[in-house]
Symmetry: C2
Subunit: 389 residues, 2 copies
């Protein structure tokens, strides 16, 4: 086990009606004027946004709004938010939505007190040392941003989609999780969210660090829960218990508890970020394509962890590691397929992906050699993209 | 799944040399003068206390000492600590030790800013709404107090051993966890710690709340880790990797993650607290006796959860719930026995326990009906104590 530091100060309020704690939690943080960040129409149409704003009004919390955050959020909206926050002397942010909304709120939160350009943090030119407090009303269990210190933003100039990871500053102060808010998610979005949360675990599970049994076991437990509960939410979208299990799994998948004490990987995410930056696909759907491709490459180059996963999570009893890992991948693809997720570039709607471009951008953004589990160069990542054809 | 609020703000610094972060963490909290709380001789003899005090000196942190905390800590030491803290204008506490030391530090931390008697909190007459910050250097993985908001203190007058649980105020600000510090624990103490951490999970696992698959799976993962790693630390006390797995398991067992979304039980703990209050036995050893007795009673009255545990954690395939639960208990007893833990009052060194007295004190402290999983009255708890004869 490697040495580690772990701190998850986020206060989670989970259950029916959780969103109505927004004002009380903001008050407890001493915030009197906040920016409410949200996405497209669904939070408005469902009445959620109205309910939250009424809650703020009832407690006398002044608010300005920043709506219209798109999936795969980009830098112009962040800059707009930073400007408004500075002009209006905003003290904190409340994100009402999924990962794109939360990540935008976090980027604004980091940018407001910083004197340079907010992208400096994403470009690795500066470190976040201060941020406005962020609270969350979660509507999509997927990105895990409600409990993580991460934020993924795309710089439109050059389509650089980069994930910034902080240990502390970008973790939300509170996250309000009401599973009922996820009843109306379209099936494709529910399924993509499930692939995303599983990916967050796989990225931590494919680790070169030995003897981290406790973290493996916790990760396997969350994965088995997702695999068990996912068919229930697909079959009956208003199954509260299954939605609740999926929602909390999504948080645990990415708040760090599945990664303590070991080096992580993140290759599948890096490779998918290039796909969604260039082709604008849904992140989770892209991951459903890239994860089996990544694992297939690993089954032939470093099969140990894939075999362990296959035996522990998918009940594979093959004694040979490569055979076990491959059987696990078959089971994973079958599971993804059962949720209606794409398994190839073609099923993702990309007939002829420009693999050279994807590989070029990947290594431009992430360096010559990538991967925590197994070192990958241009020829390797190109091979992995081709496994997804 | 029940609604829940969950917040674990403790910053964990885990690994070799972790204790040398004490001064930096205290500084980061803005503390310039602290009380260092410790137990008997081992922290002194091993040189740990000296190393920590040197670390504080090097950073210019002024400190007073409160040593001599005994196992099953009592109120006089807490009162002494509160007096010293007030007189010396102490700003925070650093506990160097195991559960007894940490719990004493927490009780002092709650008592200093309170105008009444600190026992009011434990007696349920007042709620903690303020406390001095507490940091921890952990030497015994067992009580889980390094990550919990709990503190167990015994009031000498009447031998009332009571656990106070707070959601926030008594959670340590930071916990420094170096597995090397546990190499020199005597085997009996290592084993008792293992029983204690397993108990913290069982108390949350035996729950009447249905459909909390995610929390079950995480709890089972931590249990399976402990069962796998425990024989390694017994066989080779300086096995760093096994000690590290056990140490982090002990924290996860009790920081709340194994209890989210469900009603908890705590009967085995309540029943053991009466034994250790009256007979002064080691808490973990007492739990090794009470847990199988509790589970045996449940196998005959409410076998579902014990059967689930047996199947998931001990690989029992019995179709009948009672039979499965009983087979799981046999496996658990065999595991405890292999660690050299006692399984009966007699093996605990209590030839003729005064069961009437234990039952009387239990219900005096905890009410007429106890238990979150299954309601227990005097006749039931007496029967459970008798199952431990």
């Amino acid at each position: 086990m490697d040495n580690f530091t772990y701190c998850t100060p986020t206060k989670y309020v989970f259950g029916r009606g959780a969103e109505l704690n927004a004002a009380a939690e903001l008050k407890a943080l001493g915030l009197g004027k906040v920016m409410v960040v949200y996405g497209g129409g669904s939070a408005v149409r469902s009445g959620l946004l109205g309910r939250v704003l009424e809650n703020l009004d009832a407690f006398g919390i002044v608010h300005v709004e920043l709506g219209g955050i798109e999936p795969n959020p980009t830098d112009p909206k962040v800059r707009e938010g930073i400007d408004v926050c500075r002009r209006e002397h905003i003290e904190g942010l409340l994100a009402v939505g999924g990962g794109s909304v939360i990540d935008t709120a976090k980027a604004i939160a980091a940018g407001v007190p910083y004197h340079g350009d907010f992208w400096d943090f994403w470009a690795g030119k500066a470190t976040v040392e201060k941020a406005l407090p962020v609270g969350v009303v979660l509507t999509i269990p997927a990105a895990g941003s409600e409990g993580s210190g991460n934020s993924v933003i795309t710089l439109l100039d050059g389509l650089h989609k980069i994930s910034l990871r902080t240990d502390y500053w970008l973790r939300p102060k509170f996250a309000l999780l009401n599973p009922e808010l996820t009843f109306t998610l379209p099936p494709a979005q529910t399924a993509a969210g499930i692939a995303d949360m599983m990916a967050h675990i796989f990225e931590r599970y494919f680790s070169p660090t030995q003897d981290v049994e406790i973290t493996d076991r916790v990760a396997e437990g969350v994965l088995m829960t997702i695999i068990e509960e996912a068919p229930k939410v697909m079959a009956r979208p208003d199954d509260y218990q299954a939605r609740a299990n999926i929602m909390w799994s999504g948080t645990l998948a990415h708040n760090g508890i599945c990664g303590t004490g070991r080096k992580e990987d993140w290759v599948s995410h890096f490779m998918e970020h290039e796909i969604s930056a260039v082709y604008g696909v849904t992140h989770g759907a892209g991951l459903a394509v890239m994860l089996p491709a990544f694992m297939t490459f690993m089954a032939h180059h470093a099969p140990a962890k894939g075999a362990h996963l296959a035996r522990r999570v998918f009940g594979i009893s093959e004694p040979d590691d490569t055979a076990a890992a491959l059987a696990g991948i078959t089971a994973l693809k079958s599971f993804f397929g059962s949720l209606g997720l794409p398994l190839t570039f073609k099923e993702l709607g990309i007939e002829n992906p420009d693999i050279d471009l994807l590989v070029k951008k990947l290594h431009e953004n992430k360096g010559e050699v990538i991967g925590g589990y197994y070192p990958l160069r241009v020829a390797d990542t190109a091979a992995i993209y081709r496994l997804a054809l």
